[in-house]
């Protein structure tokens, strides 16, 4: 425990870096995925191309993507942008499909009604389609966030890895410093659990209607039955 107690400030600072490296790509990826997912849902041809391509992107090994980034972006090898850009690619790869599916699941009668009320395309997207896509969207964002938090550690191979530093450093010390390695792993797991929990809470707060289903409406997930006369 001595090593951990001596290095608490280092561990906290690295945790902060780690979160930043993992979550900024989630936000950027989400913003990029929304129009892409909308396009994929809007045109069958676009979907037929975009969904498989994004699936393919996700299969690229993270290490390969990290080392390719300086070549693709022209950045310095130690620039944190390399890691963040690569993780943004993964986030987009995960979310394009989520968003396209979520939008496709919005009932056609609701979309038609929105148009008939006088919504234009953009207004309808933000006022009706996107809010209704939130439950599926949040599920996708949770996967992307947790996946990014674990992938950041791999970035340590190119020198930018948040808590990954302790994994690599601990392993390269002779003899290996297991306290250091375990502290790194534990913090990564804790961060992932906290972020996942917060996102789940945010998702619930954004979708009060999903908790108000009556049995008749198909007994939505974790529905609390409300008796209506």
């Amino acid at each position: 425990m001595n090593w951990i107690l001596d290095h608490i400030p280092d561990l906290l600072a690295a945790s902060g870096d780690h979160l930043q490296l993992a979550l900024i790509p989630v936000v950027v990826g989400l913003v990029l995925s929304l129009p892409l997912g909308w396009v994929a849902n809007r045109w069958t041809v676009a979907r037929a191309i975009m969904v498989p391509v994004s699936g393919l992107l996700y299969t690229i090994p993270s290490l390969a993507l990290f080392v390719m980034m300086p070549l693709l972006l022209g950045t310095k090898i130690l620039d944190p942008i390399n890691v963040q850009a690569a993780l943004t690619v993964y986030t987009v790869a995960l979310l394009v499909r989520s968003i396209a599916d979520a939008l496709a699941a919005v009932p056609e009668s609701v979309v038609q009604a929105a148009s008939a009320m006088g919504y234009r395309t953009a207004g309808r997207f933000f006022a009706v389609e996107l809010p209704l896509a939130v439950p599926v969207l949040v599920a996708g964002v949770r996967v992307a966030a947790v996946s990014n938090i674990s992938l950041v550690a791999v970035g340590q191979i190119i020198g930018v890895g948040g808590l990954g530093y302790f994994l690599l450093h601990g392993a390269q010390t002779s003899p290996p410093n297991f306290q250091e390695i375990i502290a790194g792993i534990a913090l990564i797991v804790v961060l992932a659990l906290i972020v996942d929990g917060l996102l789940a809470l945010a998702g619930r707060a954004l979708t009060p209607w999903t908790r108000q289903q009556v049995g008749r409406a198909g007994g939505g997930r974790r529905s609390r039955a409300v008796v209506v006369k």
Binding site: S109, S115, M117, Y119, W209, Q212, Q213, V226, V228
Partner: protein, 374 residues
């Protein structure tokens, strides 16, 4: 007023949904478009607010070509009620209703106040305002759909099979409610249905369309039933159209004969003495009919007349000219155990009785005096 001038809808694959339709829809009335599936009734409706664009021809709403406005602007001025209500699941009832006023720039608080008033208008308790659509029954959702369409007070209301997904009892309520609303609001309503009974009940005028999108007949419901222009319309309006046509003739013409009545609780002997042609009506203190007694039914009864001793009655009909029709009068006579239909006044008290013969006589007189379209 809405005018279709030679309107055609042809889809890219060559299907013609609506073929050179000419139709003038009266302002302030309910016009029903009815026909079998594939007759283009919904397409015609949706061309009015440009949810479907016409391939050729012109649609005028109050004299203005619908194409003169951007679709979204046009639609904000036309109420639209869709099958299954099409409510926004993520918005409360009040926020659903407030949709169009907010799109038109009304402040949120004012739009919500107006939405609460509209709950009263469509006969829903205000407590429902904070609920989500999934917490309402089908009938309640449909009422919210109507309230949402009325929220910006549009002169024109388009209703696309709005009541077809609810059960018959609720549908009946919703139809009555719509007629009541319309008597207060006087909107120009275009209503699409595949149900001819609904068309006849609701329509001031009914347009029967045939497959391929042409107009077969456009008339008042009474004329449609009495004088279908061809076999297609005749078969579409149905087998018992002669009987249903009686619904458009006032019961006023049917002669009401006095009926012998006995109060509940009378001695059985008094009831026996009151029988006329073997029957008498048993009434409560308010003279409302409870059932019949006959010589047969009284033969085994002693002491005072109790409700268990009564023969249950048939349907009743209102004798006042406004609500009673020859159809309800005839049904009262045919469904009565004594063969005499009971007419009640506006308080529900027995006014007299009619026989099927007197109903038919009234029909005969109405025919001769031109009361029946011919």
């Amino acid at each position: 007023m809405i005018e279709f001038q030679s309107v055609t809808k042809r889809y890219p694959d060559g299907t013609v949904a609506v073929d050179a339709l000419d139709l003038t829809i009266d302002a302030g009335k309910i016009t029903v478009l009815v026909g079998p599936s594939g007759c283009g009734k919904t397409t015609s409706l949706r061309m009015i607010n440009r949810m479907v664009e016409a391939s050729s021809g012109t649609i005028l709403v109050n004299g203005a070509d619908v194409r003169a406005q951007r679709p979204a602007t046009l639609r904000r001025g036309i109420g639209y009620v869709i099958q299954n209500a099409g409510l926004f699941p993520h918005r409360t009832v009040v926020d659903n209703i407030a949709t169009v006023p907010i799109l038109l720039g009304t402040k949120k608080a004012a739009a919500r106040r107006r939405a609460e008033e509209l709950l009263d208008t469509v006969g829903l308790p205000r407590e429902l305002g904070g609920r989500y659509p999934a917490q309402l029954s089908g009938g309640q959702q449909q009422r919210v759909g109507v309230a949402r369409a009325l929220a910006a007070d549009p002169p024109v209301l388009l209703m696309d099979e709005p009541f077809s997904a609810v059960d018959p009892v609720v549908r009946d309520d919703l139809q009555e409610e719509l007629l009541r609303l319309q008597s207060e609001l006087g909107k120009t309503i275009v209503f699409v249905t595949h149900d001819i009974d609904e068309a006849i009940k609701l329509g001031d005028k009914v347009a029967v369309l045939r497959v391929g999108g042409t107009l077969a007949q456009y008339d008042t419901p009474a004329t449609l039933l009495a004088k279908p222009v061809d076999d297609f319309v005749a078969s579409f309006v149905g087998r018992d159209r002669g009987y249903r046509a009686l619904g458009f003739l006032s019961a006023h013409g049917a002669q009401i004969a006095p009926l012998s009545t006995v109060p509940l609780g009378s001695p059985v002997d008094a009831a026996r003495a009151a029988l006329e042609n073997g029957w008498a009506v048993v009434v409560d203190e308010g003279k409302a009919p409870l059932g019949w007694v006959s010589s047969t039914s009284l033969s085994t009864v002693e002491g005072e007349l109790r409700s268990a001793d009564l023969v249950s009655g048939g349907s009743l009909y209102a004798a006042d000219a406004k609500s009673g029709s020859l159809r309800t009068a005839l049904d009262a006579a045919l469904s009565s155990p004594s063969g005499i239909g009971i007419a009640v006044d506006s308080d529900g008290a027995v006014a007299g009785g009619v026989t099927a013969e007197s109903v038919l006589k009234a029909l005969d007189e109405a025919r001769r005096s031109g009361g029946v379209p011919s």
